[in-house]
Subunit: 204 residues, 2 copies
């Protein structure tokens, strides 16, 4: 299995959403239809699909069910990925209630917070655990992924602990730039950047 770029991953995920929701009634779909809905070039769509090993049918396009399944396999939606959410504020709890995660193999095991009023309670069927227990649980359960939804001032400290005890991937929802060793990956989910990029399309 060849490595694919982040841009391809992003497009394949969108194709999947498109097949799952927007075009769920159809049995076939043409590259030009996908391209049209996502404002892409149709040959780019065919190239992406070729990466998934799916063959189309002349005059008809691709079999929706087959394409959907192949994208799932290519992107590893059924591989189980265990995750801790750190920060049980509004965003953290919104994410734990996001039911779709489990369809993509993203298994959120627990939330962590240092607010005594929250500790011990449940959100979306998951326990809110004291931050003090984080290091121990990361290493014991061998957690590699965390979702960071703490306030900005706490982000670096929590990161340092998580990294020290073995975390490798940090999905950073805080607006801070985290210092981590080269072996750790930070994915910055920066809402301000997203909004500005959206506005940038004014030149349409």
């Amino acid at each position: 299995m060849t490595a694919i770029s982040n841009k391809v991953i992003n497009r394949l995920t969108l194709y999947h959403c498109l097949l799952k929701y927007t075009c769920k009634g159809n049995s076939f779909i043409a590259s030009s239809k996908i391209a049209d809905l996502l404002d892409l070039d149709d040959s780019l769509v065919r190239k992406d699909i070729a990466l998934c090993g799916v063959l189309g049918h002349k005059k008809q396009g691709y079999v929706v069910a087959e394409l959907k399944k192949s994208i799932e396999q290519k992107l590893g939606f059924s591989d189980r990925k265990e995750v801790f959410i750190i920060g049980a504020g509004r965003l953290g709890t919104a994410l734990i209630h996001y039911a779709d995660f489990k369809d993509y193999g993203i298994d959120i095991l627990a939330l962590f917070d240092n607010n005594p009023n929250k500790i011990g309670k449940e959100e979306g069927g998951k326990r809110i655990i004291s931050l003090e227990k984080l290091p121990n649980l990361i290493s014991r359960i061998n957690i590699k992924n965390i979702i960071l939804t703490v306030p900005p001032y706490a982000a670096q400290e929590v990161t340092d602990y998580a990294v020290k005890y073995g975390v490798r991937f940090i999905w950073n929802f805080t607006p801070t730039v985290l210092k981590v060793p080269k072996s750790v990956t930070v994915y910055n989910e920066n809402v301000i950047s997203s909004f500005m990029q959206m506005q940038n399309s004014k030149n349409k």
Copy 2:
């Protein structure tokens, strides 16, 4: 003012976060420092900064306060952008409480929902208004931007209304692919895609 690519916008926003939080104590910063923290090439950082019209100082780097301000100007953080949030669920309310928005000129005026138990209440100091009133308010206040945080099955219908009454930019937090005219911009905030991209960095 020249148009800049979305990639540049994303990096400049991250530089800004870095200056605002991570390096707030320093008066100077070198391109190599920024590059190191964000895992980029230093000449790329210098090119980005040059786009903002900021000149550095040999042997010292850039003046933090000046660079920060120039990024704000280049990206238009002080231009006021009025927004409606549609869908007052967990994610919609999490976003309205995101205090940072106003620092970037993003002014959320109200939330919309069709749940009678929510309508009339407030969240984060903003009214939750009935969805029925959306078309009228979009055209009356001349709203161009909406944040879409409704359930997937409602996404297309709400979009059609919003577009009909004048919305031009849709920040789509639902996992659906929306059908819109070419004149309308959809920015897909797809969390699944983000997570998969993060995991993709395994080849580090």
